[in-house]
């Protein structure tokens, strides 16, 4: 059997090794010149409950976790019951007959794979159960045994030689069984060349790597799903770069500490999720008023309130844009892919520092936890912007004007410890010299100054330069329908549009990555070049849709999914064709 790509799902009880099987399999795939894209859901329970790992493997780059399943590996009955409906007509089921056997009426091809028995026979213990799954599936799609065996060694070495050996035996047993019992799936020749360097990254890892590369050296946070892994990553790695990470008593403290660090000259960020962002609101306003650079990452999860912490939703855009008492515009950035998580994080810091503003980066649960192959970043090509500091000229004969009125709205910022002056950053309305004041003239002058920075940023974005790539736009000839979307729906949309193209329908696509300030020129161009605008979002209200409606003369058609799980390309394709 030959296919362009296959979607494999492994399901079983949380804690049974489902997730680790998927992780090992995906790394082995990448080392065998496959591209992949993973999607996982965690059980809500701390131990137990249904866990699943989905892996889409292909020789070419894949942009989504795929639609229907080619292979469903069930560790137990529950996994089968929950997932069999998602199989393709020719999709196969692998099952462990010790735990269950699909009913007679089940039409799809089902192959027994005795996970525990194979492990026991080849290694003397049933513990290699998940490695058997890795071996059997690996053999099926053409991952060489040696590649997986090497990986098993790397992973289990810290548990001792014995564990390595026993797992390798289980792997071997599984490969041999698979050779006999399971038909191979041919995915074609590799496109990835051997000497290209590809990274295997999750969105959260890419965010953290991006932050460090941007120069972030201070990071605080409060544990919250699904953002904790950013904080943990930073806690492990940042000290090695000369930075500091502190877990705080709450999110207010976390963002407060970042503001303090930024005031003292450090590039600072705090990762959180919706409930944490809510607590940070007042500090975001202080950042705006005191013109203190800061980056806040919101890895969105399904809300409101505690909601479904392990599920996804694009539910925080309205809050990110408008959630402030008083008028406090924010720069909002939404990475669209794992690769974007790295580069948009750098953009976030560059903007925060250059314009002395708070920047919110909106990721989400699926983007955070998915892993995928990402072309290795060329660190020498990264452009870094820093805050402007006053020149000696600025400080000559005069006291330092921290909030000096300038053409760009941006004022040179002294760093405490600098002997050339002093200032008091403040959340009170103030004049150029930080002196509090409440006169009508002062408030209007300073409001204009602060807002001017956003106009400057919008103009800089439009003029390209180092800020390039803040949106994706594709308007194919003859396209009558246009999709505007944001965030992690990018991949599924690209693939849905490819499906449409195969049926002869060209569809345009605009995907702003900087959501505020909006790419005004491009939106106007886009809207005027198509007859219909469709805005698919993983939320109920249609947040981007509201923004577009409010700012442009267009009535977008909304497609909203609010189930806590992401769009698949297939369902998007169908929905788009229906409403378009």
């Amino acid at each position: 059997m030959s296919k362009q790509d296959i979607v494999i799902r492994i399901g079983g009880e949380g804690g049974e090794g489902v997730i680790s099987a998927g992780e090992i399999l995906s790394r082995a795939a990448a080392r065998s010149q496959f591209h992949f894209f993973t999607f996982r859901t965690y059980p809500a329970e701390i131990k137990g409950g249904l866990a699943m790992f989905q892996l889409r493997i292909s020789r070419r780059q894949v942009l989504s976790h795929g639609s229907a399943l080619d292979v469903l590996m069930c560790f137990n009955q529950e996994a089968f019951d929950n997932y069999w409906k998602e199989l393709k007509p020719d999709g196969i089921v692998l099952y462990d007959p010790k735990y269950f056997t699909p009913p007679k009426a089940f039409k799809n091809k089902s192959i027994p794979l005795e996970l525990e028995q194979i492990s026991l026979d080849s290694s003397g213990t049933t513990r290699g159960k998940n490695i058997v799954a890795v071996g059997a599936i690996g053999e099926m799609i053409g991952i060489p045994y040696d590649t997986s065996a090497k990986l098993v060694e790397e992973i289990f070495l810290r548990k001792g030689e014995k564990v390595v050996l026993s797992n390798q035996k289980a792997l071997k047993g599984a490969c041999e069984y698979s050779k006999k019992a399971i038909q191979k799936i041919d995915l074609g020749e590799p496109e990835m060349s051997q000497d290209e360097h590809w990274l295997i990254l999750s969105g959260n890892e890419a965010l953290a790597l991006g932050a460090i590369s941007a120069g972030c050296r201070f990071c605080t946070g409060y544990p919250i799903t699904p953002a904790s892994s950013v904080l943990e990553f930073m806690a492990r790695e940042l000290p090695g770069f000369g930075g500091t990470v502190i877990q705080c008593e709450d999110e207010i403290s976390a963002i407060g500490a970042c503001l303090g660090a930024s005031f003292a000259g450090a590039k600072a960020m705090t990762p959180t999720s919706g409930p944490g962002l809510a607590l940070m609101t007042e500090m975001l306003n202080l950042a705006f008023m005191s013109e203190t650079p800061i980056v806040v990452v919101d890895v969105q999860r399904s809300g409101p309130s505690t909601g479904m912490p392990t599920k996804t939703e694009q539910g925080d855009l309205r809050y990110a844009l408008y959630g402030s008492p008083g008028e406090c515009p924010r720069v909002v950035i939404a990475p669209a892919s794992v690769r974007d998580c790295f580069f948009e994080m750098i953009r976030a810091f560059n903007i925060a520092e250059k314009y002395q503003v708070a920047v919110l980066v909106l990721s989400d649960q699926t983007l955070a936890n998915r892993t995928t192959t990402v072309k290795r970043f060329d660190l020498n090509k990264i452009h870094i912007d820093n805050r402007i500091q006053p020149s000696d000229e600025d400080l000559k004969n005069d006291i330092y004007a921290r909030y000096k009125l300038t053409d760009t709205g941006v004022s040179p910022m002294l760093i405490p410890g600098d002997p050339r002056g002093a200032f008091i950053a403040t959340g009170l309305e103030h004049d150029e010299y930080c002196t509090p004041g409440y006169t009508p003239e002062l408030h209007s002058t300073m409001t204009l100054k602060r807002f001017k920075k956003l106009d400057t940023l919008a103009a800089d974005l439009e003029n390209g330069g180092s800020q390039n790539g803040h949106y994706f736009m594709d308007i194919p000839k003859g396209a009558k329908i246009g999709i505007i979307a944001w965030g992690a729906t990018f991949g599924p949309i690209r693939e849905a549009l490819e499906m449409a193209k195969e049926t002869g329908v060209e569809i345009a696509h605009l995907h702003p990555k900087v959501l505020w300030p909006l790419p005004d020129k491009q939106i106007k161009e886009f809207i005027s070049s198509v007859d219909k605008v469709i805005i698919p979002e993983e939320n109920y209200l249609g947040h981007l849709s509201e923004v577009i409606k409010a700012n442009y003369d267009v009535k977008p058609i909304q497609i909203n999914k609010f189930e806590g799980i992401p769009f698949t390309p297939e369902e998007l394709f169908q929905n788009i064709m229906e409403v378009g």
Binding site: T244, M283, G417, L428
Partner: protein
């Protein structure tokens, strides 16, 4: 011009500075007779005595009458939102450990809205000086009950008298494990100044509870009433004895003034090894490339 003179004064400074060097041109907006004036004078004097350089000072102040503190002292400062002095001070100090960081809060800022931060700052033992200016009332909002108001006190929000017991900041700090706990009274600003000088040389979280009456809105806790109750901590008090310190704080008849408690423990900066960390020469690009290797 004052700036130029100050710079000249700095150049000719031999040992100690003049307290006036630390004054900004801004006139304090406090009501005449406000206790905070005493605290401000204490700060000027303490800074002069230490001879500290204004560029090395960062004053983080909260919201309330005391929040204006930073505007009147020549130094770097951050006038923040209500109750968040400590987190912002922490970030400032950790990012630049060379700075002398001071936190200024009122009783509401520190113990009501900001109360959740204090135990954690005590646990961290960050090297900074935290001064709680306690007038047992919300002055800026014109007279509501605060966490240190006497229980029976009638205020705008407790028209028939309060119903919550007052907190004692000294007792709390001792319980939380702060490593330097002192109490001053701004009417005795020289003593407050001495405490600030001592606190500045303490390697950890130094807290000074400074009673600072509000003659406008607090008719119960007044200079007169406080003056009758204050008494210096006995000279033979062992400042390393936490139990004794608590006993003094629990004394119902007297308000003890002075240093209750001081012990040496590693500061947050020590525990994080910030000095070594910031002294490292790091090739970030090379290091990042190494890190990326791990994801291949």
């Amino acid at each position: 011009m004052a700036e130029v003179e100050a710079v000249q004064a700095e150049e000719t400074r031999v040992d100690k500075r003049k307290a006036t060097e630390y004054k900004t041109d801004l006139k304090p907006i406090w009501c005449p007779g406000c206790g905070d004036f005493g605290a401000l004078t204490a700060f000027y004097n303490a800074f002069a005595e230490v001879g500290i350089d204004t560029k090395d000072v960062a004053i983080i102040s909260g919201i309330g009458c005391s929040g204006r503190f930073g505007y009147f002292i020549k130094s770097y400062g951050f006038h923040v939102v209500h109750g968040r002095v400590l987190p912002i001070a922490m970030g400032t100090k950790v990012a630049n450990p060379d700075l002398h960081v001071f936190g200024i809060s009122g009783d509401g800022d520190a113990l009501a809205i900001g109360g959740g931060h204090i135990p954690h700052m005590a646990r961290r033992n960050l090297k900074m000086v935290y001064v709680i200016l306690d007038n047992a009332i919300y002055g800026l909002t014109k007279g509501q009950a605060s966490p240190t108001s006497p229980e029976v006190m009638k205020t705008g929000t407790t028209p028939t008298g309060g119903f919550e017991k007052p907190l004692d900041p000294v007792l709390l700090m001792l319980a939380y494990g702060a490593t330097f706990v002192a109490r001053g009274y701004t009417a005795k600003y020289k003593a407050v100044s001495d405490l600030i000088v001592k606190a500045m040389s303490h390697n950890g979280f130094a807290v000074i509870h400074a009673i600072s009456p509000c003659p406008v809105f607090n008719k119960n806790v007044t200079f007169k009433s406080v003056s009758q109750l204050v008494e210096d901590i006995p000279e033979d008090h062992d400042i390393t004895d936490r139990m004794k310190a608590m006993e003094l704080a629990l004394d119902k008849d007297k308000i003890h003034l002075g240093l209750f408690y001081q012990i040496e423990e590693p500061s947050l900066e020590d525990k994080l090894g910030l000095q070594d960390r910031y002294a490292m020469k790091i090739d970030s690009t090379a290091r990042m490339n190494d890190l990326l290797e791990r994801f291949q």
